[in-house]
């Protein structure tokens, strides 16, 4: 069940909210937690019972290891518990997500044939694995201990973030789950949540899913894309990915707020960044935090001199590439970001002399070019788009009709050009001229203008609901 469906928005969510707040009158908070846990399990189980079984198995193991870590007396015992816990979690992730990738690349080295194996990929495995790794590392570092099994189960299964994050730390959720002041319906928090939910819906349904048409057609185009169409495809994907994932994150944060929980911000206007380093601090921020906790700091962080810091940065980005997907395009994408961030680290004093606007433009262009690698199914596919960016032999405007084609209605070239460029212009304005939705929600002005704007976005999103699609980051 995804957020942007009739079933979720008009049945599952209202019923869950009603049930949850109806139970807020019960003296014992356990009933309310149990209800929310049950709702979350229904949400996950709707995708398939196996998803549920996998999550519970992986979560139970992590919980047991976290308990062991908390009770271990000696450093050796604690280290053993940590290493075992991490190996199990990473092993499960590696098996589900990377088995075929490694087998395909390693078996031929030993003269063996590779046959792809159909392996079940549990919903949100990349997200809950990191959540559990953070838990183990933080318990090992004695930052906190795990609490009751019910609180832990709710932390693990809480449906707003279960399929695609944000990656939330135990300390953030456990305190809120057990905070009695959050049990009652809070109109202010609910209003902020509703605002984020509607803005997220509009980002996803109106913008991302429309841009997806151009992107899918562009990457599937068998001929040689000319420069205008290739640039349109590249920019469309840049905006699509942002609206898709930040839209999802807004919805996740909004839904959680409606239930009374504050989740950490996941996007902070990343395309306005003046360097790739800053971009990664503002894009999928909770993944950045998880990678810092689980990879960067254990490797030594920035405490062992510049060369080691640079190596650690590089390794973190390589892991980030692999986290996003099991293919060489993702690895290369991560490695290039690693190299760029190392370069920025070394030459920051020099780079800072360049006017900020130029740095923002340069960063935006770099990010654009690298998203092509991220989206392309193969390196050849990426090369095809890159080649098109510089193919100025003719305008090839008729290619815009191909980009805008969605299987039902074909547009004549002038309308197709207007449609594609219009969507890109709207996206550009939304990204660069509007205030960040998260920040806006924190200081929401409840006037008629906001009301009309929100109703407009909701109605527009509702109209787009009949067009089905899934979230990109669900695949990661």
């Amino acid at each position: 069940m995804t957020f942007s469906t009739y079933l979720f928005l008009f049945l599952f969510l209202p019923l869950s909210l009603l049930g949850y707040f109806a139970l807020s009158r019960a003296k014992n908070p356990v009933w309310q937690r149990l209800f929310l846990l049950a709702a979350s399990l229904v949400f996950i189980g709707y995708a398939g019972v196996l998803h549920l079984v996998w999550l519970l198995a992986s979560g139970t193991l992590a919980y047991l290891f976290a308990l062991w870590l908390g009770k271990a007396q000696t450093k050796a015992q604690r280290k053993t518990a940590l290493v075992l816990g991490v190996v199990i979690q990473v092993g499960l992730l590696a098996y589900c997500k990377y088995y075929n990738f490694f087998a395909e690349n390693l078996l031929p080295l030993f003269g063996k044939d590779f046959t792809a194996v159909n392996i079940f990929l549990p919903l949100g495995i990349s997200f809950f694995t990191f959540q559990q790794l953070m838990l183990l590392v933080n318990v090992y570092q004695e930052k906190y201990r795990v609490g009751s099994p019910l609180t832990y189960a709710l932390f693990l299964a809480f449906f707003p973030y279960r399929s695609s994050g944000p990656i939330v730390d135990w300390s953030v959720m456990s305190e809120q789950i057990e905070d009695p002041s959050r049990r009652r319906f809070d109109t202010a928090r609910f209003t902020r949540g509703l605002y984020l939910l509607v803005v997220g819906l509009a980002k996803k349904l109106v913008l991302a899913d429309t841009l997806a048409i151009f992107v899918n057609n562009g990457f599937a185009y068998e001929g040689a894309l000319r420069a205008p169409a290739a640039w349109a495809v590249m920019l469309s994907y840049t905006f699509q990915l942002y609206f898709d994932f930040s839209g999802y994150s807004d919805m996740a944060l909004g839904i959680a707020q409606m239930f009374g929980f504050d989740l950490p911000q996941n996007f902070d206007s990343p395309y306005k960044s003046e360097s790739c380093t800053v971009f990664w601090r503002r894009w999928h921020m909770t993944l950045g935090r998880a990678l810092t906790t689980c990879v960067y700091i254990p490797l030594g962080g920035n405490r062992r001199g510049l060369p080691r810091t640079c190596l650690n940065i590089f390794l973190v980005m390589a892991v980030s590439g692999l986290w996003h997907g099991a293919s060489w395009t993702f690895v290369l994408w991560g490695v290039i970001y690693g190299a760029i961030q190392v370069f920025e680290r070394i030459s920051m004093p020099l780079l800072e002399k360049i006017p900020k606007t130029l740095r923002v433009i340069g960063t935006f262009l770099t990010v654009n070019l690298l998203w092509v690698l991220f989206r392309a199914p193969t390196l050849e596919g990426a090369a095809k788009i890159y080649g098109g960016l510089f193919r100025f032999s003719s305008l090839g405007l008729s290619q815009f009709s191909v980009l805008a084609e969605d299987g039902i209605i074909g547009l004549p070239t002038p309308l197709a050009v207007a449609f594609v460029l219009g969507m890109l212009a709207v996206s550009f304005v939304a990204v660069f001229c509007f205030e960040n939705a998260y920040r806006k929600a924190q200081s929401l002005v409840l006037d008629k203008k906001t009301l009309c704007w929100l109703v407009f976005l909701f109605v527009l999103s509702f109209v787009h609901l009949s067009r089905l699609s899934t979230f990109i980051y669900v695949n990661f």
Partner: protein
Amino acid sequence: MKVQKEKKIMSEKKFLLSFFALSLAVLLVMSLVVFWYDPYVYYRMPEDRLIINNYRFINPGIAKNAEYDAAVVGSSMTQNFDMPLMREELGVDPVKLSVGGMSVEGMRLTVDLLKKEGKAKTVFVCLDLPSMNKEGDDLKTYATYLYDDDVLNDVKYLCGYETWMRLLPVNAGFSVLDAVGYEIPRFYATRDIDRIAEWHEDAKYGKEYLISDYRKSAANCTKTSDTTEEIVARMQKNVDAVLELFDCAEFEECVVFLPPYSQIFWERVSQTGEMEAYLSVRKYILSAVSEYGNMKLFDFQAIAETADLDNYKDYTHYSKDINDLMVHAFASGEALVHEADLPTFNDALLSRYETFRAQNGEWLDLA
């Protein structure tokens, strides 16, 4: 001195109530507009109004609301059938419910609706062989919510994307242009439901187009990786699925026909290594149709017109003259085949193909 207007801030409770009330009101008004204008003719047939020529969305409305006793079901091979001619020649009152590249599942949606409505006593069914040779059917391009009785999913029509972002604005725009006297090309909109889905007026026919296309696509023509048995099994499965749809009391007569592809189509089938499978499936169709009491089969694949490439816009799509010819044949019984013809069923087609090859071998082989 300029006095700055102070923003009126609402309480959260008032804001939430206003949001839900206003959203509901807007959606309700939108629904009423669609219900009244009914761009897909889903609730009623209009008296005299331009209807946008998008059969994917219009067909369910036609099936529900039009008056008819016969239906033409199939792919683009059926889209140029002349309804008045069919009325005149065959004594039936048909509607056309065709969809370009109609898949088996697409046909199932349409036929289920026809059965439910119970108006069509005679059905004309095109068995398009390339469509039968496909696996992994889906209904992605069908507005499935228009085919059922579920009132709840009517919301996808009343407040849906295709309605509000595409068809309604275009349809309303056409109506305005029409009202001021601008003639909307029939390809985009029509007042006559008989002409929904027609494309023959905009098509360019001619041997030169086909030869040029044949030469251009020669490099991409590759042998199939499937064995003859695999292709036959796949096609037979789809043929069975289609024929079973019409095996019911609702349809008194089911006229199944094999459409007349150009002889270049058979040349390509031969080059891809699928000829044997296609010939085998043709025979299978004849024997399968013979088993149903309410069905008869017309075979147009060997008619002389298939060798005259000026009748075609591409390998498979023929001119309206050929559709008219088929209607005459339905009336006269010409091209009707029986189970007794089974042993020699492919002979005429093979003979036509070989003659065509002999006469055109020069450019066929050079490509």
